[in-house]
């Protein structure tokens, strides 16, 4: 019983959460947007590398593959976060009062 009280004793600090902002004043959407931009840049970078290689620039083959793999991984991560977000949204929309 004492142990349970220790765990659940102090309330969680929730300051800042009510307004939907993080302590830095950035919303989650901002973070997501900047991440999406970053992923976009990475994909563009990989594409540019491939094109430059195709027209004869001296890249190592594995550098190109790695660039596109990195872009692929970042995109998958973004996709998963987006799926999670959408799931949460739909869950909220399904709420019955």
């Amino acid at each position: 019983m004492d142990a349970i009280r220790t765990i659940g004793g102090s309330p969680l600090p929730v300051s800042g959460v009510e307004k939907g902002t993080s302590p830095q004043g950035k919303t989650f959407v901002d973070t997501l947007r900047s991440f999406a931009t970053q992923v976009d840049q990475e994909i563009n970078g990989a594409n540019r590398k491939t094109e430059e290689f195709a027209v004869g620039k001296d890249y190592d083959l594995h550098d190109i593959m790695i660039a596109s793999e990195k872009a692929d991984l970042s995109f998958r991560l973004l996709l998963q976060i987006r799926n999670k977000l959408l799931d949460a949204y739909q869950e909220i929309m399904r709420m019955q009062f």
């Binding site: 594995h62 790695i66 793999e69 991560l77 998963q80 799926n83």
Partner: protein, 146 residues
Amino acid sequence: MDLIKTIDVAAGGMTAQRTRLNIISSNLANANTTRTDEGTPYRRKTVIFEATPLEETFSGRLEKKMEDPIQTVKVKEIVPVEGEFRRIYDPSHPDADPQGYVYLPNVNLVQEMVQMLNANRSYEANAAVIRTAKDMALKALEIGGR
């Protein structure tokens, strides 16, 4: 991201092995070359590798106090190898000396073939690291999937 770092380290290894293969290829191609700019027969070359921290921002490097144990590799130098030239008797050769001897490069075909296999395997090992890092990242992403 940490897995990206793994990939960058392995990529450095792959680049280093590519350079090494280029040098081996040069050695093999010139195994019988008797003329170079230096006026001697071709001299066998070899690469020297050096462990080096990943290229990062200067401040990031300071934060880690330059003690990051994760290091990639880069080609420090390409150096000619000292050693006796092979000497064969062939008076009809245009580059033969007055006694009829021709000096050929100090390239040993067997040695170069072994080096080549070694470079190939190292390259494969680095590729395997990248594959593993990618698999791990995908497994982590599967946590979120349904």
